[in-house]
Amino acid sequence: MPTLRVVKTVAYCNPLVPAEWIEAHALRAAWVVPRDGAASAETGSLAGMCAYARAIVDTLGSLDENTLAVLTTTCDQMRRAAGLLAERRPEGVFLLNVPRTHDSPASRTYYADELRRLGRWLVDRGGQAPAAKQLADVMIRHDAACGAFRRGELPAAAPPWCNPVAVELAAEMKAAGDGGVPLGLVGGPLRRRDLAIAHGIHAAGGRIAFDATCGGQRTLADALDPAAVERDPVGELVRAYFDHIPTISERPADRLHAWLTRQITGRHVRGLVCVRHVWCDLWRAVVPRLKETAGVPILEIDLGDEDRGGEGRLAQRLEAMIESLHRRGP
């Protein structure tokens, strides 16, 4: 394997940003989790801004100039967050255009072109354009780590391109074992403090049977085909990410619901916990359909951006849900 001289970190927070592509450019890919704590004076004044997007702006805006940021157009709040961030760091932010529709081959071509554009942007900022072999090597290495995740075999030290909160959650899910009322966890990306939901579920006698939050099992890239990696690495990246990952932003949203249905049925879950950041329209609008189709009770949890408080209420709601599921029987 060639030695890569890592000069800068590229921070991102969306599963449609392929870490392999960044690392193949001799840069360090890091899934950024927004810091906990109160919003800054600037973003705190923005009524109606998604709590997660607000926290991302604050976190990325305070990083040093050796950290580049890649945000995506997968939701309007994050698209506009990129604009806010670009005000602070005009040269340090890249907005990756991810098509919402998959009906036309032009959409996946567009995504592939966006990856190439991202590559040029990285090269302009200190990255190295990868040879095909170099890219393929990085992809195979990532795929091995990703495969372990897919099987639930957690590495002792997760690579930085993994969502660290999802890794922590996966570890907690594994430690909880197979006992308890099985629940599905569905929704947007979690912040570290949102792990209180997992703690609450486990404390109340439940267990998380699948993690469909952003960065969890749902959003892992598909296993790579080594022959395709050899033949057309960028094409294989597009397949593993754009063609495979069911997202909340895709229109129509059928793939997401099909994935959730498979998980609900296959893992025999008895309830869903749906989390969404306050002002996140996309996840908010998913709940009505889930209520019609999931066939199991659903608990909705809004994730606000208040510094603290609400832990007791959250625990009580989770306890009440799990208790009611206990009474219903399997």
Partner: protein, 495 residues
Amino acid sequence: MIFRQRLCQSYWHCRKIVGATLDGFEFPARHGCTMTDPAEKITLDQWDDRYRDLCRGGLREADYGGPLGRHVEAHGDRRLLRLRMDNSAAALRLWNLLLSEEDRLHRARAEGKFLLGTMKDLGTVPVMAYALEGVLAFYPDGAWWTPCLMEHSEGLLALADRLGIDDSFCPVRAMLAALVDENHFPVPDTLVCSVGATCDDVAAIAQRIDELGFPVFWWEIPHRRAADSGEPSVELPGGVRAPVAQVEFVRGELDRVRRHLEERTGQSLDDARLAAGIRRANQVRRLLARLRHFAYQGDPSPMPALEMMIAEVLSIHYCSDWAETLSVLEDLLAEVRRRLVAGMGHGPAGAARVFWVNPPADLRAMNLLEECGGRICGTDYMIAHAIDLIPEDVPPLVALARAALADPMVCSTADRAERIVREAGTSAAEAVVVSRIPGASHCASESLLVGRIVARRLGLPVVDIEIPPVLDAMEPTIRARLEALVETVLARRNA
């Protein structure tokens, strides 16, 4: 003699102010207006008397015409009782065109016409649809003003709540309820929605519409970005630029829309037809450009902000009647010219010149601005791309792709702000109002960025005002903010 002298003075005053000739103008005798009719804003009750006067004066109306009061009685448009409307026959026709749309759509359905519901693109897909025979395109999104017009008596937002789309979404959620309850516009024969660089509200609500049994044909509009170094780019309507590759991508998406329309209507939508559709759109847009120029630059303001906003909105889908939209705009233009020549207008000359960003959820906001001593001198109601001329010297789908990419909502807020700066500067704006739409995903951060950029580039005061669908409970606050803005403008003049 005195009147003729005044007319001449006014004429030269207008030439100076608006920088354009009024030569060749003929007063519109067919409307029952006379040269001396003053410009006034009147209540709905006063409109009853005014309507009778106009009829006595020989008013001739289109088949959707009639007294405005009937919209309250027949349709429950109670907000009209709280509005102050322009007293001209041209405004009467404008209001009647707007408020009769649902009736006209139902009639079109009964006549066997094909109804296309197009969502979010605000001005592009209707150009294609109206190039076909017997096809009407309208925006279900337009139902967002229904809770305002009916002052919530129609229950659309409450129904949207029950359908799972609560008030964390913008009032456009009314369209979901209107489709389900079928008490407003007829269910379209097909629904088309742009998605991508659009607001989350419509993306989420349209998905819910699809799930509830109203299949949506989706097409992609990407976030408009700046061309990279060495990348070919092209100028779009409105003076902005986009990479050629993005135009080509959108052309492909619009080609998918074209094929969908062909399949659903059984008609060919070839380039010749599309080109004719573009020419028709440009007829409307040219008229509207002239109207905006005279109305926003004339002093005193010859046409109220409220009627001008509705006139602008006609451009997106012609209020389901292209020919009538043309006539309405012609009448409004004639009235504005008549008033400019006569030196008449609303309010005193020298009112604070305000550039308004985003359409307000309550129409009454436009009245309030004028009651507080302001007037509109320029706008960005999120439909700038529906007002700009569509190129006629390139293949039609390329032209439409350029128009779609010129949408001020598909670029970054900073890019949108640049155009606002340019237009606020040329329209001699003295202040900017960013009207916040409750729950809208784009509104959270845009007032900060627009305000910052406008202040930096033009040094103008900017206020951010949230306008709910019925603003009555908030009126003291909104009024206070608008009054403070106007006072600031006047103080700056004297500084």
